[in-house]
Symmetry: D2
Subunit: 346 residues, 4 copies
């Protein structure tokens, strides 16, 4: 039995609490949150849980074996470092932290203290993602050429991070999990409808060593919610529509191949439109899998899908994407100046 201390009881905290309470390997010992109203909620759910106002006190509690951190991104690094220093296992919300240097320090300290450091990339335990992983690995799709993700919605504005840092960790962890490669080049465009410092819409293109291209459309400003990923392979194509409850995954036995005409430099595309297959995807909560995995990693030294290195790689992708956005905004700003000058003098 692992005694858990949970820090942060905001949007995601209640889900963590519920899943840790339901797993027999864990006992939720304490919850820390600076807001007394949130602690009241905890008490209503289970009066036996210790309520703590100050995260440091929780971290220093010798009863606690593992700390679960669900606080704003900026606090992930200091809280995790303190907990690791106290030899606590740590499960931290995504993204792991705000830059690669911090991530590396966290990994190093966890190794030194011989404790588990895990980042909650929940989507890796999503039934659809696991099914797609299985399908991609089986070779059924052929060589993967393209990955196109649309993750847009209205109304999930964050006060502290932009849309990239909010939604990007989902998609980047999925891409890394599915294809196990890192981009060699990235391009990005971003747009802020409200706060110019926090873009609420971004378009990203990534290029991979295998020649795969990935494109991400992330937005907080779409009136229609879309959660759709299309994966193009040389044999088949797959579409994952997370909002289609009956057919989340569809595999299209469709594609185009080319025949080079003999003695001629002409490529004739050949179409194939075939059957569509929608595999049954079990209906289970991803976070439940994360919690079970955390126990297995601690007890059985199971190799983690979402260890510090996985967290680091996602942070690296976020940092690179952020740089691409900024360089793009600078370039654009120059163009705007030139454009205004032209107009002024014309």
């Amino acid at each position: 039995m692992i005694k858990i201390g949970l820090i942060g009881f905001g949007y995601w905290g209640p889900n963590l609490l519920r899943n840790f309470m339901a797993n027999p390997n864990f006992q939720v010992y304490a919850v820390a949150d600076g807001n007394p109203k949130r602690l009241e909620l905890v008490q209503r759910i289970d009066a036996r849980i210790k309520l703590i106002a100050d995260a440091d006190i929780l971290i220093n509690d010798p009863e606690i074996d593992a700390v679960v951190i669900a606080t704003p991104v900026g606090t992930h690094y200091p809280l995790t470092m303190k907990a690791l220093a106290k030899k606590k296992h740590v499960l931290v919300e995504k993204p792991l932290c705000t830059n690669q240097r911090e991530a590396q320090e966290m990994i190093d300290l966890a190794e030194k203290m011989q404790v588990t450091l895990m980042v909650d990339h929940t989507f890796l335990f999503n039934s659809s993602v696991q099914k797609i992983h299985e399908i991609c690995r089986s070779g059924e799709l052929g060589k993967i050429c393209s990955f196109d993700s649309v993750r847009v919605n209205l109304g999930l504005f964050q006060q502290d991070i932009n849309v990239l840092w909010d939604l990007g960790p989902h998609d980047f962890s999925i891409v890394h999990y599915l294809f196990n490669e890192e981009p060699i080049h990235m391009e990005a465009a971003a747009y802020a409808h409200l706060n110019p410092h926090l873009p609420d819409m971004t378009y990203l293109t990534m290029y991979f060593p295998s020649n795969m291209i990935a494109h991400f459309n992330m937005s907080w400003m779409s009136p229609v919610k879309v959660r759709r990923v299309s994966i193009g392979g040389t044999n088949k194509m797959l579409v994952w529509d997370d909002l289609n409850h009956e057919e989340k995954i569809k595999i299209y036995n469709s594609g185009i191949s080319h025949q080079q005409e003999e003695n001629r430099n002409v490529i004739i595309p050949e179409y194939r439109i075939g059957d569509i297959f929608s595999p049954r995807v079990p209906n289970k909560e991803a976070l439940q899998g994360v919690v079970a995995h955390f126990a297995n990693v601690i007890f059985k030294k199971e190799k983690s899908l979402m260890d510090g290195y996985a967290g680091l790689r996602v942070v690296k992708m976020l940092e690179t994407a952020q740089q691409a956005i900024e360089s793009n905004l600078q370039q654009l700003s120059k163009k705007r100046e030139t454009h205004s000058c032209k107009k002024e003098y014309s």
Copy 2:
């Protein structure tokens, strides 16, 4: 009554023929096509139409008042120039030609010869596009912030042009018609699944003087057909789904506004999710409108939505986007080299 000569009876030719036959202002006098089988088809449709193997003969026929050109893009310029030189009115398929210089020459010659030059940007007479134009102009959406277009499908490979030159004219003519401004900056990514010289997938971002951002996802490689445009305004949002036969246009009375807290530098987003309205869009063929417009422009000197200048602007956008694709491919190619070197020596 205007006597028409149609050059090219391939994919689009039969639609042009049918609509010109149905319009009482026109008489289809002759059709030219190098392929005798295609001419046979014409004869079966109307035995009175003159069949001509050679476009030049058609252009030189003094009986003909106007020439309609539906041939591969590369031939638009020479055929149009010859027809204009013979003082024929010309309706040419989109895109007008392959570069801005050609476009300007065509415009100049048409003005000199005092004949009509029109490019068939059919979508401008699409009922949904006209309705959206009306809605945008009315101010109902507020200031337009973003335009996001997805135009993807499987199986429309062209042998002579890439996906940008195939699908781009639709979207670019629509954007120009709706918002009447030209981009000040463009970025593009492209991918070729088959023929490396003819990308079959492209992602484009355009930035406009008004601060609007537009993004285009064009592909010949999607297993699912999508034709969707989302327009984000400061008041309302609009989605045009061309494949939804019952509700092509939806207007969402949804959005986010911000309230700056007094004495504080904090922006609080305020959500609004409201009613959805789907205006009735008449079900009529766009090409019928183009043909009627052609008659009005010739006879009544009506100002054309799709004159040579409109054609030129679209060609300019295509050329700029093509350059963005090429510069992107070069940049990527360098990164790939660096990446391989690194791997080699590491």
Copy 3:
């Protein structure tokens, strides 16, 4: 503060518990269930709640002001009668009971004891149903001609009741709430895939004094889940698709009217296909409204939408429909015999 005793903690019990706990007018004092495992669950949720194995003990507890009954249908009548006799207010799950005579006795006893008797027709507090009620009452649709409901799914088999008694209370309470009239005639067909005594599919047609026709398709055997109601009025039509999260209700400004030609006995139908409007429907839990309403009925003597009479009317519709099913099955059985005889001797 009303002290509640909840009897039955099966499928629906947890929802009742959660909503009563959240409402400040109520204190959940005790829960009774014969299954100790279910009581354990209650304890985990709130350790202060009294756990009781025997419903009678709960009913006799003088601390309790109101009893909430969420047990199998067959027990609604005896449990409610005992509770009413003890002068407890009662909220009982739908359907109220198994026949009209029982219903009338329950109503009479509640009146005699001057306590509240309410049946949990939850759908009357569903946001969509309330919106539709408002729309129908406003006259926007014109005179209502037809009501067509499809409520089908896979996998909600009940052991004790057939599909009519399981799903019918939803639809019948809605129809009664919306139109406030009782059918003058009913027809029914039923089919049992598995247990011949418990039909799992039924088709019902009802005819109303106002001339409205209503049709109900209820099934436990559809691979696709459908929850759709279409209402046809003389002015407009309305569709409620409960599974469409973005546009639950759509109002179609479409219809057909007729013009009688002068001096002639010919009716010329005139079509009208117009705009579609989807009003915003608030996203709130219906059961929360039921619980608040229960408090208002008890304290403020608010007229209840779901009093004993409402429960009785739904039971009457169920009984009549059940008779229609049985008479239909008998008729069919005779036809089958005749058919077999014919075959035998032919």
Copy 4:
């Protein structure tokens, strides 16, 4: 080469003309229609076709080998009888005629004259129907238990026939083709929004010797167009959605089976929700298949799917359904009287 005379150039005539023109086994020799404007249209399509105002003249023309009849239902019988008497092959629009007696006479005369009599049940050559036929015959679905069809729309009002006679022939010919059995019992409800003599909405239930139940919802008064058939088998279920262009047919590997508990009279339903498979359905025009079939039946004495007997069976189903509707309306009318009396005296 069979010389065809087409009688009736209304709604369906142009489709027949186009398909007969495209088939090399046929020459369209003449078209008859009482309306000169319709004949003008024919001339515009092919100036070589003989135009005839009077159907009798066409039937008597010795040049003509086969007559295609696309006139109002009431005229099918006399025109067909005349044509058969002149030893012409006949393809007549559905339904074959207005009653069984007429149908039998037509069959008898065709046999006597040794010519082909075929009724255009176009749907039997619809790609989806043929695929479903293949699937049902393969046994993949198990034993068929239920067939549920929804065929509703706005705006196809007929002046001479009700919704049953308009839409029923489609569904009834499909049911007969797929399952090859005739109903032993039928029930029907109908409703007329406009003309009380021509119901525009009907609900039908049919019971078959195999124990299959079929239900049909037909309407001209639905704001939303639906064309959906669900077939429930003991192994799998199939849904045909004719408006879903990408996945017309879906096979659900889902169902419910029951296990009888040992020594107990308890049936435990066991759910199975599995994969979904959507077979590729070729995109071809059904009428083209009908026309080719007509040639094969005439020349190669191919057994016809849609001979006089097939036509007769559909007419028999229509007559029986019509009787069910009428008996239902009478029953309802009595109830309404009783209801009014009760109200009057209460």
